[in-house]
Each structure stands twice: as structure tokens, then as C-alpha cells.
């Protein structure tokens, strides 16, 4: 009997422990997921704002870990080799640090802003020629941008990405090739209308923000 108990108890304990463990790991997992969900809304925008305001190296490292490998993959899809892509990503991230104070989280999602910097660096590296850029708009000295505004601009970006994925295949490929830098300006001009209905609501939102910021 004793022997039997001795034999059983450890098993029960192991079982119990593994239940506890899985309960803990589930809780941790759901916390991680929750963090990730929080992240998906305005986390990255806040990181850039922290880099601008406090030269926050940790926020910058997080941005780097998330975006650098994505930019590199993005550039390589356009035909850049790994060494050039790596160099271009590094220059992009240096510019993210140096230009963080120009980022307006109520007008662009973090990913959009970083995309435009990477695009410009790509053009600089590839052609070494001029790239006319619009004037940069000053944005107000408001200490904390409104969270709901940041979130809605992020949500519109996500919707737009979704809309592109749902385009008929031929048109989706045109849009993707353009952004991967694998299309000429004549080719894009010859496309007879890309039905991007979703872009219209994004444009309305952008216009609203611009007018708001101009006041």
C-alpha cells in the first residue's frame, strides 16, 4: 500500500504541477498576446514619439527589432541583394532616429512613415540622384497626441493593406510590384484604373487631419 501510494503520489504531483505550469504558461501566453494586441494599435507610434522626445534607446531598439528585418525583406523583394539591403536598412534606421521629431502620429501610421524613409533611402542608394520631396509640414507642439487619432490612422492603414490583398490578382500584383520597385512609371500609367475604393476613406481622414493641424 505504502509503496503504491509512494508510487502514485509523485505522478499526481507531476500531473498537478504540469496543470499549474500549463495554467501559468497559458496566462503568460495570453499576456503576450494582449501585449501584442496593444502593440498593433499605437505602440510603434509611441516608440517613435519616445525617440523624438526622450532619445529613448529602448524604444528605438524595439522599433529596430520589429521593422529592420521587415524593411530588409521588403527591399530584397524589389531585387536588392542582401548586402545593399542591409546597408539601406541601417541608413533608414539612422534616419528614423534623426527625423523622429518630424513624425506626426495623427497623420501617418509608424509603418507608413518608416516605409517612406526606406523608400527614399532606396532611391538614394540605387540611383544616387535627386528625389524631390514635398515640404514637411510643421506639427503642433501638443505634448501628447490624441490616442484615438493615432489608433484610427493605424486602423485605416490596416484596412488599406487588407483591401490591397483582396484586389483581383492581376491588380494586386501591379500594386505590389510598384511598391517593391519592380514596375516602370509607364507600366503604372497604362493600368486602366485600380479600383481602390478603400483609399477614399483614407483620403477623407487624411484631409480632415491636415485641416485640423493647419488650424
Amino acid at each position: 500500500m505504502l509503496d503504491l501510494l509512494d508510487n502514485i503520489n509523485p505522478d499526481v504531483e507531476v500531473l498537478e504541477r504540469s496543470f499549474k505550469l500549463s495554467a501559468i504558461s497559458n496566462r503568460m501566453l495570453s499576456q503576450v498576446l494582449e501585449n501584442n494586441n496593444n502593440k498593433s494599435k499605437d505602440y510603434w507610434a509611441r516608440c517613435i514619439v519616445a525617440v523624438a522626445g526622450k532619445s529613448d534607446k529602448e524604444a528605438f531598439s524595439n522599433l529596430f527589432t520589429h521593422f529592420a528585418p521587415r524593411i530588409k525583406s521588403f527591399l530584397m523583394k524589389g531585387g536588392a541583394d542582401a548586402i545593399i539591403a542591409e546597408e539601406c536598412v541601417q541608413e533608414t534606421m539612422v534616419a528614423v532616429w534623426n527625423k523622429a521629431h518630424l513624425f506626426d502620429p495623427t497623420r501617418a501610421a509608424a509603418s507608413t512613415w518608416i516605409f517612406t524613409i526606406a523608400r527614399n533611402k532606396r532611391i538614394d542608394t540605387a540611383r544616387r540622384n535627386n528625389r524631390p520631396e514635398p515640404d514637411v509640414l510643421p506639427w503642433g507642439n501638443e505634448t501628447e497626441p490624441d490616442a484615438s487619432e493615432i489608433i484610427s490612422i493605424q486602423e485605416e492603414t490596416t484596412l488599406l493593406a487588407q483591401a490591397v490583398k483582396e484586389l483581383p490578382e492581376k491588380q494586386r500584383i501591379i500594386v505590389e510590384r510598384a511598391f517593391y520597385n519592380d514596375l516602370s512609371h509607364q507600366e503604372i500609367a497604362n493600368e486602366t484604373g485600380l479600383p481602390l475604393g478603400t483609399i477614399k476613406s483614407r483620403i477623407r481622414l487624411a484631409l480632415q487631419r491636415l485641416r485640423h493641424n493647419m488650424k
Binding site: K57, F64, T65, F67, A68, P69, R70, K72, S73, M76, E86, V89, Q90, E91, V94, W97, N98, H101, L102, A108, A109, S111, T112, W113, F115, T116, A118, R119, R122, I123, N130, R131, P132, E133, P134, D135, V136, L137, P138, W139, T157, T158, L160, A161, V175, E176, A178, F179, N181, L183, H185, I188, A189, G193, L194, I199, A206, L207, L210, M214
Partner: protein, 219 residues
């Protein structure tokens, strides 16, 4: 709006997307960067097309960075510290927004114009060879010779206004010309019209004289 205009509208959107994606020749980029600096609506549209790139980047696969990449970025930041401290620039006054000033100098009187007849003047801006850019000055009430286009042409109004069979164009508006468009743009009577034009092919004139002059004036 007739079908021709609708097609033009699409073309405009596609070129804006091309700018957002970073695939336009320098001359076309100059026209769009200048328009965006003048017009809120163009800026809103551009920012929206750029958001497509942002969405694609967010969804992108990943490619591993070299192990010391972050360190070397911090080092580069350290090095660049002495050189950069860009402030957001002031909003522009005058007819030339910032991106155009890099090509023209600060103001109208810094432009070196060449007369091309009937009081019309032009000044060619230096860009890469994939397309050309020029400023055009048309005196009030003057009509340009009737012409069509071999390739794509974007005309952005910087000052004054002009009209042709496709409509009336004022500061910040772009007219797009392609093989389909035969037009005779005429500056409005109120004052001279100054435009920025980008083209990826030379113009085709209908009458013989401008055609003979074309190679000399690079129009």
C-alpha cells in the same frame, strides 16, 4: 465629366501612387512634390497611397539582419549627431514651394528664361534623363500652338490659370496629357500663367513652323 477626363483622373491617381511607391522619374516626382506642397488635397491623397506601402511593410516577411546591425546603427547615429538637427521648416510663401526652389533658385527673377515666340518663355530644369522638366510662362490671354504628345505630360499651374477643351486649371491643378490629348492651352486674361511641366517625350506640333523650331528650343 466626360470619359477623357475620367481617364485623366485615373492617370493622375496612378502617377501619385507611382510617386508613393518611388518609381517615377525625377521630373515627374518634381511636379508631384511641388503640387503636394501647394495642395492639401494632393497631400492627403499622397499620404493615403503611402499608407499602402506602410501596410505592406507591416505585413512583410522578415529577413534576418546581421548580428551587430543594431550596434552599428547606434554608432552611425552617434557620428551623425554633430551634422543633423533638422527643424521642421516654415510654411512657404511665394509661388515656388521648397522642392521646386532646389531647381529654380529662390524666386521668379532668378529664372533664366528663353523666349520661344508670342511672348511665351520657358526655362529647362536639370533632372535625370528619363523625363524632362521645364517652367513655362504664358502671357495673359495668349494661346499655345495646338499640339499633342508622344508620351505622358504633366502640367502643374503655379500662378495664374489656363483653359483648354478639358477644362480650367488654376494654381495647384494638374492637367495630364497623353497621346489622346490634342489641345491648345490658353492663359486666362487676368494675368500671365506660369506652369511646371514634366514630360517623358517631346511635344508634337500640328503646324509646321513650331515643328521646325522644336529641336532648337527643346520643347
Amino acid at each position: 465629366m466626360n470619359t477623357h477626363m475620367t481617364i485623366k483622373h485615373h492617370l493622375n491617381e496612378q502617377l501619385l501612387m507611382g510617386y508613393a511607391a518611388g518609381i517615377l522619374p525625377e521630373a515627374f516626382s518634381l511636379v508631384i512634390a511641388t503640387q503636394v506642397s501647394i495642395s492639401d488635397e494632393a497631400r492627403a491623397r499622397l499620404e493615403s497611397y503611402e499608407a499602402i506601402g506602410g501596410g505592406m511593410l507591416e505585413d512583410s516577411d522578415t529577413e534576418e539582419m546581421s548580428p551587430n546591425a543594431l550596434d552599428s546603427v547606434f554608432k552611425k547615429i552617434e557620428k551623425s549627431k554633430s551634422t543633423v538637427k533638422t527643424k521642421a521648416p516654415e510654411m512657404v510663401e511665394g509661388i515656388f514651394p521648397e522642392p521646386l526652389k532646389k531647381y529654380t533658385g529662390d524666386e521668379l527673377n532668378s529664372i533664366k528664361w528663353k523666349n520661344i515666340g508670342r511672348g511665351v518663355k520657358q526655362s529647362i530644369l536639370k533632372t535625370d534623363k528619363n523625363a524632362s522638366a521645364r517652367l513655362l510662362y504664358i502671357p495673359a490671354g495668349t494661346a499655345m500652338p495646338n499640339h499633342s504628345h508622344n508620351g505622358l505630360e504633366m502640367t502643374l499651374v503655379l500662378e495664374g490659370s489656363f483653359y483648354d477643351k478639358d477644362g480650367y486649371f488654376k494654381r495647384g491643378d494638374i492637367e495630364i496629357g497623353d497621346q489622346e490629348l490634342h489641345h491648345k492651352p490658353t492663359a486666362s486674361d487676368e494675368g500671365p500663367c506660369i506652369c511646371l511641366i514634366a514630360s517623358d517625350a517631346p511635344l508634337k506640333f500640328k503646324s509646321i513652323l513650331p515643328r521646325i523650331l522644336q529641336p532648337f528650343f527643346k520643347i
